[in-house]
């Protein structure tokens, strides 16, 4: 009895110790982000001190500078471009992936696993493999610096992930319900909208958020294919690569504002994040 009690107490103490280690590591990993947030609210003079000024006065100057009220280039066109590219490509992905996933799960075609793996294999083709022909194509068809070209490319980038994720979500829809709807004479679009979508909706939402994140983050295509008009937020950020005097607070404000949509989408999709990132292999 007493030995059991001792073992239990020992186990609990060890558990609390390891909990503390986990907390410590969590804080270490989060520290750069916390420091970035704090610095974004410091004046440029306070942001560039050594040792760091933790308790310096807070100000919104960094944000004012970033949003261009201080005279620099406004980030709004880039933010709008990113929003258009991410939202439009995500909608296009859903439009293409939903029927495809249906044909790979609810009423599977023959050899449906082969088709599924073809989609996956395209994801493993590096972006640089097709970059030059796409650039030459865009140049000759005057699509350079056109946001809709990015919409098409981001759709191809995310479609395999979406097909895989949705295939696994749709597989959870009971076949009996669909058959009942078919007996009632419902056609495919009706079945998709009225029967399948409501059951699979949480999964579809998570898929959309993950596609949104990848499109919002993308740099290489955007960097090569856009210029002045269609510049996206990550391309706008590359303007900060070379130091420009005292500009730390502004860089921090910019990085934080541009990361906010991704942080929000990521935390909203937290539960399905692993499944999306592992292309549906891990649930």
């Amino acid at each position: 009895m007493s030995t059991v009690a001792v073992r239990l107490r020992g186990g609990r103490r060890k558990g609390a110790g390891l909990g503390l280690v986990a907390w410590l590591l969590g804080i270490v990993f989060f520290l750069p982000i916390a420091w970035m947030a704090l610095t974004s609210f410091h004046s440029e003079a306070d942001a560039a001190t050594n040792p760091p000024s933790f308790g310096a006065a807070l100000t919104l100057d960094g944000y004012r500078e970033f949003f261009g009220t201080g005279g620099g280039a406004s980030p709004w066109p880039a933010l709008v471009n990113s929003a258009v590219a991410s939202v439009a490509s995500t909608l296009l992905v859903l439009l293409l992936a939903l029927p495809a996933a249906y044909a790979l799960s609810v009423r599977p075609v023959k050899k449906w696993t082969d088709v599924l793996f073809f989609f996956l294999s395209t994801k493993m083709l590096p972006v640089v493999a097709g970059l030059l022909p796409i650039y030459l194509f865009a140049k000759n068809t005057h699509l350079l610096d056109n946001i809709w070209l990015l919409v098409i490319l981001y759709t191809s980038m995310n479609l395999p992930i979406a097909v895989w994720m949705m295939q696994s979500f749709l597989a959870e829809v009971p076949v009996a319900v669909i058959e009942a709807a078919q007996i009632d004479g419902a056609r495919l679009p009706t079945i998709l909208a009225r029967v399948v979508a409501p059951i699979a909706l949480p999964g579809i939402a998570a898929t959309a958020l993950i596609c949104f994140i990848f499109s919002w983050n993308e740099l290489l295509f955007a960097r090569v294919l856009t210029g002045v008009v269609a510049e996206t937020a990550p391309v706008f950020l590359t303007g900060f690569i070379t130091s420009q005097g005292l500009f730390l607070a502004k860089v921090c404000a910019a990085s934080l504002v541009i990361s906010l949509p991704v942080l929000a989408a990521g935390f909203a999709a937290q539960d399905k994040l692993v499944q999306g990132l592992s292309l549906g292999a891990v649930k």
């Binding site: 609390a16 390891l18 909990g19 590591l25 969590g26 989060f30 750069p32 982000i33 970035m36 942001a47 560039a48 001190t49 050594n50 040792p51 760091p52 029927p99 495809a100 044909a103 696993t113 793996f117 073809f118 989609f119 996956l120 294999s121 395209t122 994801k123 493993m124 083709l125 972006v127 640089v128 493999a129 097709g130 970059l131 030059l132 022909p133 191809s156 395999p160 696994s168 994140i213 740099l219 290489l220 960097r223 090569v224 990550p234 950020l237 900060f240 690569i241 730390l248 860089v251 990085s255 990361s259 991704v262 990521g266 692993v274 990132l277 592992s278 292309l279 292999a281 891990v282 649930k283």
Partner: protein
């Protein structure tokens, strides 16, 4: 990795009453799949075929009239050019270092988070956050806010303990890029391994514990074998993403100081040097490297996938 699937044009589903032929029915089943399939083949496979063709030409965009077929000459150049060979080596080094370190750190964090403790949800959220910073923003954060030799946070913290004040990026450029990537990718590994840990057979572990197995024995003989495929999956998916990394190299060092990896080199050789043929040959080499990794990755994904299908 070219398409082996032929893509027929969508047929309209049968609208006539009566018994539709089996063939028509098969087409009706296939129809919803075709738009996505055709889209993927056109947007991803065709450009790669074009890259493959261009890679056999000597083609500088500044002298378009001098374009001519050279066979394997571009590949010979890519493989013998010291800079390009170096970038192959950098790619391997960068990928292996980031994958291995973030996998080990991710495993430690996953094991810690698999236990119950106060505030576990909060710690999980804190740990995921680095993965949810836009990659360019994360690279800027490391370059300017952490690594800056005069007022960066790292040297600021070292200042408190009277440590040295190194110039991180100039002294150890590749390590600087790697550290920022490890910070972003450890959460990814942690999430996959945590999912693996939580799919363990808890009755089996309980039984082993009752039989007097120690924590280490349980980890070594039950947990680790179960995690093996999750570790493989994390390593392979991580490799696929990091082999392609462009953002961190472009932002932190702009490919300088010997940190140019293959994707950066491909970008530079056609975007700045206008060497279309050479860039394509280097691109094809990246693809060949990816295919080697991808073949293993597909095998792991498929074994996990079949398990899921069998279970469901």
């Amino acid at each position: 990795m070219t398409a082996t699937t032929t893509a027929p044009i969508a047929a309209t589903p049968a609208r006539t009453k009566g018994v539709p032929s089996a063939r028509l029915k098969a087409w009706a089943t296939r129809a919803p799949l075709l738009p996505a399939l055709v889209f993927m083949i056109v947007v991803t496979q065709l450009p790669f075929v074009a890259t493959l063709v261009i890679s056999f030409f000597d083609w500088n965009a500044l002298y378009p009239k001098a374009r001519h077929f050279t066979g394997l000459d571009n590949y010979r150049q890519v493989l013998t050019d010291a800079d390009l060979r170096h970038s192959v080596w950098t790619t391997v080094l960068l990928t292996v270092a980031v994958v291995v370190v973030s996998l080990v750190l991710g495993l430690a964090l996953a094991l810690l988070l698999d236990r119950r403790f106060r505030g576990r949800g909060v710690v999980r959220t804190l740990l995921i956050a680095p993965f949810l910073v836009v990659p360019v923003a994360a690279a800027l954060l490391w370059k300017h806010v952490l690594y800056n030799p005069e007022y960066g946070l790292l040297n600021g913290l070292l200042h408190y303990v009277g440590g040295p004040q190194p110039d991180w990026i100039s002294n150890t450029p590749l390590l600087a890029v790697e550290a920022s990537l490890v910070w972003q990718w450890t959460p990814f590994m942690m999430l996959i391994l945590l999912a693996g840990l939580q799919s363990r057979d808890h009755q089996q572990i309980e039984a082993a514990r009752v039989d007097g197995a120690s924590d280490w024995q349980i980890f070594r003989h039950l947990t680790l074998p179960h995690l093996r495929r999750y570790l493989e999956l994390g390593a392979l998916l991580g490799s696929i993403y990091i082999v392609q990394n462009f953002d961190a190299v472009f932002t932190i060092t702009s490919g300088g100081l010997g940190t140019a990896n293959l994707p950066y080199t491909v970008y530079q050789s056609f975007y700045q040097a206008h060497e279309n043929g050479l860039a394509s040959a280097a691109g094809v080499l990246v693809v060949i490297g990816s295919i080697v990794i991808a073949t293993f990755a597909l095998r792991v994904v498929s074994s996990l996938f079949r398990e899921e299908v069998a279970r469901g």
